[in-house]
């Protein structure tokens, strides 16, 4: 299917907004979108979300014979797939120019930078070495695939554990995870790509362009760097002339961004490690709330009705006569009150459609596993809860940052990290939700 074309009015608006130093999603020039890292149940599996761009990374290993010219080195293999699920414009089974470019860049970023110690992957020199394969799948495309893919690749590699092997004389023993703990790969440093989009022949620069910004940009500069500020790869595309100090400025920005992202990755890895050690729930299968889709549906319970008549008679006989009508108004939800008991309140009817929509949003979110998950969890917990308003206004505040230009970008970053911290050992809100489901 063909890609949706970009209209003239969008292009014009975007360029004018960039001139005014404004972006569609309210970010500042040098801001990244929110980065979220979640891990699978198995080692070496992760999903990285960069705003709405999502990349799934999976690492696997295999014992193979080495290349004849490099007898003592393991083999690294990278493969990025752009599936049609990510965007309808991607054609399956075809090597598009974009895909070739991205794969090449990824290889240069991760293999040629020698971030993985390939010598340690050798089992028997010239006979058996480990082949490490990194598969990356783009699940949703909203621009800046390369940054998300490079983060996903390095996170998956850091998370991966290969089976232990021992060599005694000629005998090679491969241990299962039960016999011996799998061993992590030895990783020297973490190269991370940072993309810069240039507009109007290099007059304006944006970090982390989203899909629409990518479409109107004139040129792209990708810098792969590690936290020691060593440049691993640098690539400029789009045929744009860049000045020397522009490149220097970009590399400085990249240094800051890479430091932030590395910190985030390490925090995510530590959190996952901790949860695994404690035997808690981990993996993204666990982070999806169960049965949320049916949470708003009443389940019919089977009831034994054999002696219902007698029981009812008993209850009626014992019961006190009904109390008098309550005169105090009852506050169901803010803005919806009721006077008297048992009467149908017509006030709620006005907001009926709204409420249904709210419910739908809830079930929707369960599927897409949004950042707002926890917030909605609280929101649905009960009507008029004080916390709910606080949490939601909080997320609102993030929206407000989008609209207000003068808040510092640093603040957003810390907010995301703290949100992240809360998220990973997210047992508390989950429990809360489960309880509700039982009720």
């Amino acid at each position: 299917m063909k890609e949706t074309p970009l209209s003239n009015c969008e292009r014009r608006f975007l360029l004018r907004a960039i001139e005014e130093k404004k972006r569609l999603d309210g970010r500042q020039t040098y801001d990244y979108r929110n980065i979220k890292i979640s891990f699978g149940t198995d080692y070496g599996c992760c999903i990285v979300e960069l705003g709405k761009t999502r990349v799934l990374g999976q690492v696997s290993c295999e014992l193979v014979s080495p290349k004849p010219n490099r007898a003592t080195e393991g083999i690294l293999f990278f493969n990025l797939e752009l599936s049609q699920m990510a965007a309808p414009a991607f054609e399956p089974g075809r090597q598009s120019d974009l895909l070739v470019k991205l794969n090449r860049l990824l290889e240069r970023c991760l293999r040629n930078s020698k971030c993985i110690d390939t010598e340690s992957l050798c089992v028997v020199a010239g006979e058996k070495v480990w082949q490490i394969r990194v598969d990356l799948h783009l699940l949703n495309h909203d621009g800046n695939i390369i940054d998300a893919a490079s983060i996903a690749a390095i996170v998956a590699l850091c998370h991966f554990r290969r089976p232990d092997v021992s060599v005694q004389g000629d005998e090679v023993t491969l241990y299962t995870p039960e016999e011996r703990d799998p061993v992590p790969l030895s990783i020297h440093h973490m190269p991370i790509c940072v993309s810069f989009a240039f507009f109007q022949q290099g007059t304006y620069l944006l970090v982390d362009p989203n899909e629409r910004e990518e479409r109107v940009m004139d040129g792209l500069l990708v810098i792969a760097m590690n936290k020691h500020r060593e440049i691993c790869t640098i690539q400029s595309s789009g045929g744009i002339m860049l000045l020397k100090d522009q490149v220097l400025r970009c590399s400085k920005i990249a240094g800051v961004k890479v430091a932030e992202i590395t910190e985030l990755i390490q925090k995510a890895l530590e959190n996952d490690q901790k949860v695994r050690k404690e035997g808690g729930k981990f993996g993204f299968a666990e982070s999806i709330a169960h049965q949320r889709i049916t949470a708003f549906k009443m389940e019919k319970a089977l009831i034994d009705t054999s002696d219902a008549g007698e029981k009812a008679g008993e209850i009626i006989a014992e019961a006190e006569p009904p109390s008098e009508v309550v005169c105090n108004p009852v506050l169901w939800t803010p803005g919806t009150a009721q006077v008297g008991e048992g009467t149908e309140n017509a006030w709620g009817d006005l907001e009926d459609s709204e409420k249904e929509d709210e419910d739908q949003d809830g079930s929707d979110e369960a599927i897409i596993l949004d950042n707002m998950k926890m917030d909605t969890g609280v929101e649905l917990s009960d009507t008029g809860n004080q916390d709910a308003t606080i949490v939601l206004s909080d997320s609102e505040e993030e929206e407000m940052i989008i609209l207000e230009p003068d808040k510092s970008p640093k603040k957003i970053r810390t907010q995301t990290i703290s949100a992240k911290q809360e998220k990973v050992p997210s047992k508390k809100p989950m429990k809360k939700r489960k309880k509700r489901a039982v009720n």
């Binding site: 009015c9 608006f13 549906k297 459609s353 989008i402």
Partner: protein
């Protein structure tokens, strides 16, 4: 999810009346009230209902989006909530499934925003977000004649209406109503911002009793166009205001009335 699927498999067909407003899944079979009386729930799967056509009075029921008739059965084709509208006259009314989706499927009579992708001969090709581009004749503009062609460039935005929208056929758009008047349709100006939202949000915004539009209108003076294909074009005085409006409208999807009012009052203050 697993539980929902189980319940669908477990009880073969549920009565449409009992699942109103509840979640239905594709492949599920629904029983109309008449069938239910005749056979009881769950009986429709085994015995074709046509065997005793004389015993039941025929009732006219309309299957809306997300439902399809298959012989005598009503099947669900979309995941969402089942809705029902009582008929004004006789009959069984209209059933449909309210689902959240982003992909637009052209429907005759819908007003949509399209992007001109090509000019070929005397027709324009317009991308409306459907499976294939719609065609738009250059004569289908107000006051257009063979001599007097409308000024439409590739990449322009068009607000128009579908006159032909059949399955497996190229849809056709026009920018005039049946009297030959533009009636608001035509080429949309060069400024402003186009953005995409879900089809559910568009329907919500275009509902006759929707307050959001009035509230938005109080914030800033604005021009706005809603396309049933999930596209919104908005233009305010400044870029900043346009961006604010676009972000608010997008955010409206996941907000309750109270939250929305809070935000609007806060924005009105600033």
């Amino acid at each position: 999810m697993a539980e929902a699927a189980e319940s669908v498999v477990g009880s073969k067909a549920r009565a449409a009346r009992t699942v109103l407003g509840q979640l239905v899944l594709p492949g599920e079979e629904l029983l109309l009230p008449e069938q239910e009386d005749a056979e009881g729930p769950g009986g429709a799967g085994e015995r074709p209902l046509l065997l005793n056509p004389g015993t039941r009075s025929r009732v006219r029921v309309v299957c809306g989006p997300g439902l399809r008739r298959c012989g005598d059965r009503m099947l669900v084709t979309k995941c969402g909530r089942l809705r029902h509208k009582e008929p004004s006259g006789g009959g069984g009314g209209v059933y449909w499934v309210d689902s959240q989706q982003k992909r637009y499927v052209p429907v005759k009579g819908d007003h949509v925003i399209g992007i001109v992708t090509a000019k070929s001969g005397d027709i324009f090709k317009v991308d409306v977000g459907g499976s294939e581009p719609a065609s738009l004749s250059y004569l289908a503009f107000e006051g257009a004649t063979k001599r007097n062609r409308p000024n439409v460039q590739v990449g322009d935005l068009i607000y128009g209406q579908f006159v032909v929208a059949n399955k497996d056929m190229e849809p056709e758009m026009v920018c005039i109503d049946s009297c030959g008047r533009a009636n608001g349709m035509g080429v949309i100006g060069q400024d402003g911002l186009l953005f995409k939202v879900t089809l559910g949000l568009i329907r919500k915004l275009l509902a006759p009793d929707c307050e959001i539009i009035q509230e938005v209108g109080k914030l800033y003076p604005l021009e706005i166009v809603f396309g049933m294909n999930g596209r919104i074009w908005v233009k305010a005085k400044t870029i900043q205001q346009t961006l604010i409006l676009a972000n608010i409208l997008e955010a409206c999807e996941h907000m309750t009335t109270d939250q929305r009012k809070q935000i609007f009052s806060r924005l009105a203050e600033s």
